[in-house]
Amino acid sequence: MITRLFSFKGGVKPESHKNESSGTPIQKAPLPKRLVIPLRQSIRSTARCLVAPGQRVLKGEHIGEGEGGLGTSVHASTSGTVVEIAPSPMAHASGLETLSIVIEPDGEDRWIDHTPLDLHSVSREEALAWLRGCGIVGMGGAGFPTHVKLGGGRGIDTLVINGAECEPWITCDDRLMRERAPEVLSGAMILRELIGAKQVLVGIEDNKPEAIAAMQAAASGLGDDISVVPVPTLYPAGGEKQLIRVLTGVEIPQGKLGTDFGVQCFNVGTANAVHRAIRFGEPLVSRVITLTGNVARPGNYEVLLGTQVSELLDLAGPKADTDRYIVGGPMMGTELQSLSVPVSKGMNCIIAASPALFPPPPPELPCIRCGACARACPADLQPFELYWFSRAKNFGKAQEYHLFDCIECGCCAFVCPSRIPLVDYYRFAKGEIWARERELQASDQARERFEFRNFRQEREKEEKAAKLAAKAAETRAKLAESGEAAAPAAETEDPKKALVAAALARAKQQQAAVTPKNTDGLTADVQAEIANIEARREKLNPQDADKAP
């Protein structure tokens, strides 16, 4: 099948640095001394802990139950003993802590009993629940639950499998495709069946000829509607929206999902995990991760989830002048705040950085509006305008110029001759806008509460008035009926006046009964004192007492 390729505007071609780590096969990392498994494994959701300290667990045992729509199950990555359940830092730019289960491996790496799932004997919903139970999330980085992405299973024409791996240095997907192409494609076929897509397109950047060859060979027996398509090497071709654009021509706007346009996209690592989950019943307990940069033995390692980064790095042997570590690629990755963080499902690469490999940026100069950033922007934005607006804190204008269409790919900052850290400005502006929106929401809520309180008080007042009016009408009717017979003496008085006086008196009495007093719930002493005062006041103003009926 010949696929016509499309292109996106912009993009950059940084040095790929793939050869450092792509040459050697994936090695199995040795069992770590300690595993720290965060209960937060999928985006925006923390699982409920199912184990207690001291409990023995097997590899693949269910130790955390996913909660909410985006929750997925969490499993023990190896057999051993739960020694602690405590907050522990995650590999996140903020260095956030999350509740984690610490397991001491017993060295046996013994699997829990697991059985494959026969897709044809279960409903689609059961299959999705199975994936959720196996803890399958997107392995490209964001950690979005796969069962949620598979969605309703309707209206999807094309399934895109992302093997582009456009970030420099990273080669874990490359090695995975070279070594486990049939497994990846088996996973792709399962995903295709679950999502009901007509065709499968596997996009791989053309700087990975071995991976393309392996995947094409594996795909040759699977039919015409799956094709492995080399795409031009141009960062960020592996961005979901960019890859979908290149392969299908569809442009997915910000805030929209691929499913709205009949396309859905999964990473090759995710496809492999889906294959293991369905064909073997294995939950996701390990992943391939690239260790590269300023290290003695760069390469790809199959690592148990929860392995501490510090322990993992020993395998690659960081060199002496390493000054920091980057998780992910150099274009969009984040700097590790601590090495005692666990390997997570979305962690694809750790780069040891040295001043020689990643020199500190030269001093920033003023923007000269040269437009290099606009030509590099894959979202067709005008980055320098966004920079001016963000800098001036003119956030309204920044949003008008589509700040939130920015995918923070870093192309603009990469090409800027004035070396302005442009993406930092956009992160700042987005953060400020989100903070303001939260504030606005909070004050909106407060205002609504206040307005409702006013409305309620007003309504109660009106209800009371209506009640009183009804009562008065009743009294008047009674008086009119019995007036002549019962009280001939009252004839001298104006009957109307008497009626009004009677109604007023009743109203007063009722109001006194309804209005809550601030004298309730006081001590006996105080109440006695109040009674005294009331008595004195009645003596001083006898008219008041007279008026009462």
């Binding site: 505007k9 000269i368 005008q382 990469f414 001759p417």
Partner: protein
């Protein structure tokens, strides 16, 4: 903490400016060898004045000197001015023009990247308004020996009539005022070469060569030169076809005055120009239109500088209304 991206292309403002200076070299060679070698002296005077002026203002503003002086942007402004001014302009006038550009137009607005107007063009216009006669004394190509040129630049007695001719644009403009004169008759008598001023006309291809280098390096995009030259050719062709006796040919307009210098080096100034692709087309085409109107119907023989300033004012409006379509957005543009 440093955030992503952690890698950067080895690009710098200095590199951009150096490329522009490099692109001017073919024209400088033609100028010095064919027209007046003293232009090299003028380039040196202008460069020194620009750097000194920049250093002075930076000092007054309390800014570090090294980053701004080494970015070479002041040198670009200086060279453009030296190439725009008549080669026999007295040295003090060159210095004054450069200081107007650097001090008043660039730094009073905040320095590099902040000026709404093209510094070189403001200085050029200021000088032509303030010193109309000095600014319109142009030697014919190769007319004066180097000693005479030097003498004029450094304050020798100016026997204006003996040395000064006019530019090709000026000759045509004044010539057409005479009854019965046609473009052909004027070009037949005066100091003309193949299409424009003798000798001077060779500057045009030299500037174009430099411009192509900038295009190849990706320093400028095709939009502005194409729109500027295309629009200038189109409008001059229209008038020329209608009345060839009183309107010069498109080729004459493209090869005369500041057309080629403007197309590749002046109009393309990123700081003061339009930035969106469509905006660049509108901006450059409008400059050509205004320049032609001034050349043909205005008071000055050359109009590129005034046209650039007029359109500099319109840049925010142009940019605002030509925002490109954002990825995934169908038809709706940023306002």
């Amino acid at each position: 903490m440093i955030n992503s991206p952690y890698i950067r292309k080895p690009a710098s403002v200095q590199g951009v400016m150096l490329a522009v200076l490099t692109a001017l070299i073919p024209a400088i060679i033609v100028y010095a060898s064919q027209i007046a070698a003293v232009v090299l002296v003028n380039l040196a005077i202008a460069t020194i004045a620009a750097l000194a002026g920049e250093a002075l203002v930076l000092k007054l503003r309390g800014r570090p000197l090294a980053p701004a002086l080494s970015d070479l942007s002041a040198v670009v402004t200086a060279w453009l001015l030296a190439l725009c001014f008549p080669p026999i302009l007295p040295w003090w006038a060159t210095v004054l023009g450069v200081l107007i550009a650097i001090v008043a137009v660039k730094h009073l607005y905040g320095g590099l990247g902040q000026n709404p107007f093209n510094p070189a063009m403001v200085a050029y216009c200021a000088m032509i308004v303030a010193f109309p006669s000095l600014m319109s004394q142009w030697p014919a190509a190769g007319q004066l020996d180097f000693a005479t040129q030097l003498g004029l630049v450094f304050g020798g007695a100016r026997e204006i009539d003996a040395i000064a001719s006019a530019t090709a644009l000026d000759t045509i403009k004044t010539g057409l005022r005479a009854a019965g004169a046609t473009v052909q008759s004027i070009m037949g008598e005066g100091n003309f070469g193949l299409v424009s001023g003798r000798g001077w006309e060779w500057l045009a291809p030299a500037y174009a060569l430099g411009g192509l280098y900038l295009l190849a390096r990706g320093i400028i995009t095709w939009h502005m030169p194409a729109a500027f030259l295309g629009a200038l050719a189109a409008i001059s062709a229209a008038f020329w076809l209608a009345d060839p006796a009183h309107y010069a040919s498109p080729l004459f307009h493209l090869a005369s005055g500041g057309a080629m210098l403007g197309a590749f080096f002046i109009v393309t100034d990123p700081v003061s120009g339009a930035t969106t692709p469509r905006g660049k087309l509108v901006f450059a085409a409008c400059i050509a239109l205004v320049a032609y109107i001034i050349r043909s119907f205005g008071a000055f023989p050359e109009g590129v500088a005034f046209a650039v300033l007029l359109l500099n004012i319109c840049v925010p409006l142009i940019d605002m209304n030509t925002q490109p379509r954002v990825f995934g957005h169908r038809g709706d543009k940023a306002r």
